[in-house]
Symmetry: C2
Subunit: 400 residues, 2 copies
């Protein structure tokens, strides 16, 4: 394949769900498939490798350069969406007692086959003890030992770290490459900053979908049938939760029968508290994504969202209450004023609860080990529907 | 400040909205403020620079290294969230007739003050004509001219390009640094791949919020008062749209008065079509974000979402219809079967329309020059509320 053809194929591959990309690669020649796996983001590469059928995967691993193949197999041992999945083979690793001259000579050979940004110094047990910067090597006297020119304070990532945590811990470090080490400091691989953020951007673009039950693998190119099977279970789950909201309204059928004007305000309250809750949900999710939420600061967040719920509910509720009052008056309803009061109170109450629910749901999901966005919008709308319509119809039952 | 203190301050700065980060930096010494601006993502840096008061900004620009300062001022001329905002000064720029020996000598000096990944070759008019890779320089004979060792086929970014488009065009290129040139190919600056994806990840994490009217600048640390002013207008707008949904229900008050059992199914239909629509919305937004949607392929997307709406609506509708039938039977409603049929038909119709609305809204927003996520969820729920409850109550009025 020409570089242009490879480029086109790579574009095609990264736009598909991994299992479809795997089908595409199964049909390619070994060297083309390997070239694609080397071009694309290593996370996507690993996802595709996992989806390949066993025979094809073995063939590709056998045909790939040895260090790449070994790394690919090692990476598969780590959890998906962890730093381990993004590792590239550590090249340019030297011993502390080597001289600058020897190192430059070795580097000269290494740069022929790999793109090298930093050199690494490891001891006999492969424990990382220092990082080398080209500039220092170029300027140091050729007989100095690496232990004298290396930087001994090293920031490294752990392979089991979730990408989201890795992104947080590197957000203001800005290094082009990060070493990955185990707990004892043994060098396992390298991760490019770009790969990390690229993988994270792909993940993040899935978040609005995750909130409403779209699978992270679904892309525009996913066939209808598969999209159906991935989305449908969550829609059934959503129906189940919607039944709860329906049951709440059903409970007050008698009141609705007596004061039918209430019905028109049900979607208004539900829609309003739903959107208020989604704002709190989105801000909280973003806080978790970017690492803004410190442990122990949850209380501050809840307080803030409760305050916002009161303020927003009070003003929006006033407009809605006036709407209700005018609407009831045109129908010559004698309880027009009280209806307005009921709308106002329920709006304030439901905006406060929505704000709190929006801030709580992602934290609870995370606590139970889920992605904090998982179906969060489904849980939220259930809560806001139940509270907003329940308060509204409950108050109306008592007061009107 | 010690490096640790700078690191802590940088973390603090990137967790705030730009105007708050600017307040934080106004109190710092010049050299510390400049160090922070150099550490953090250049996009965030530019946002902060813009928010600084004029006097303080001039002071910092005067105190910063000349090439940095010049670049900062130049970057401010480009639209926000464009590649231009991320540019760093082009270092290591050479003329084509220079020899490899001269270049290596010059590089040696340059690497003392900057982190250099590639060299660039530009002609007298500063037009970019080639890229230099260190490896080639090291291995080439010292008397060769740069025009003989450079790569003449250069991929560059345009400074006016939106970050989202830049991310799409670099997603499978994986270069650590991209040159930025104007239309004629004059070199304007460099953008690190990492900066690009980092900035994009920060942007992307705002998307779920943008969909429901949260400002991109709002972070967990944003004070309550400011959060209120940023969120409230959208909540009023949401109320306005909710009134439309309320008005639709109001139109059928007579029917609800006659068949009050319908009321309990209003939140079920609204919730269900809302979530179906949000799934389509999320998948479409992701397609736009990752560049999966080719022009001319919109029809395919609409067809897919319509098919999914039919399939999901038919099955979910069946469950809901059975629910309605059983519920009506327990109330000894003679129209139980017809009520079930009405639920089923409205569910199918509203899921199809929701799917289509979810796919259409971001495309329309983009067409009018908005971020395709802007308030998309607010527009969507209005559409799904109106269609689902309108169809349901309309059919019930005719058939029961």
């Amino acid at each position: 394949m020409t570089p242009q053809e490879l480029d086109a194929l790579a574009s095609d591959v990264v736009q598909r769900a991994p299992y479809e990309a795997a089908e595409l690669l199964e049909a390619q020649k070994d060297e083309d498939a390997i070239a694609i796996l080397e071009i694309i983001n290593p996370l996507v590469g690993q996802q595709i490798l996992r989806e390949l059928d066993d025979r094809r995967r073995s063939e590709l691993i056998a045909a790939a350069p040895v260090d790449k193949a070994r790394q690919w197999m090692k990476n598969q041992e780590y959890p998906e969406d962890s730093v381990g999945w993004l590792m590239e083979p550590p090249v340019a690793v030297f011993r502390p007692h080597m001289t600058v001259r020897e190192t430059i000579e070795a580097m000269r050979k290494l740069t022929k086959k790999a793109f090298i940004t930093y050199g690494y110094v490891a001891d006999e047990s492969n424990k990382l003890v220092g990082v080398l910067v080209f500039r220092d090597l170029m300027l140091a006297s050729p007989d100095k030992k690496l232990s004298e020119v290396m930087y001994p304070n090293i920031f490294w990532l752990n392979p089991e770290m979730a990408l989201t945590d890795a992104m947080k811990s590197t957000l203001n470090r800005h290094f082009p490459v990060y070493p990955v080490c185990d707990e004892e400091g043994h060098l396992l691989g390298l991760v490019r900053g770009q790969s990390l953020f690229e993988a994270r951007a792909i993940e993040l673009s899935a978040q609005p979908g995750t909130m409403v039950g779209v699978h992270e693998e679904e892309r525009l190119a996913t066939p209808v049938k598969r999209s159906f099977w991935m989305r449908h279970p969550w829609l059934q789950f959503n129906l189940l939760t919607a039944f709860i909201a329906g049951a709440v309204v059903g409970l007050f059928e008698h009141t609705l029968d007596r004061v039918v004007i209430l019905a028109a305000f049900l979607p208004i309250l539900a829609g309003q508290s739903g959107n208020t809750g989604c704002q709190a949900l989105a801000v909280t999710l973003r806080g978790l994504t970017l690492g803004d939420l410190k442990t122990g600061e949850e209380r501050k967040l809840f307080f803030k969202e409760a305050m916002l719920g009161i303020a927003n509910g009070a003003i929006v509720g006033l407009v809605a209450a006036i709407g209700m009052f005018v609407y009831a008056k045109t129908q010559s309803n004698p309880a027009a004023l009280m209806l307005g009061v009921v709308v106002w109170f329920s709006m304030v109450a439901s905006c406060v609860v929505s704000g709190l629910a929006g801030a709580t749901i992602p934290l609870v999901l995370r606590k139970f080990g889920f992605d904090p966005a998982t179906a969060s919008s489904i849980f939220l709308t259930t809560a806001t529907d139940v509270v907003s319509m329940g308060t509204f119809l409950g108050l109306a039952t008592i007061l009107i």
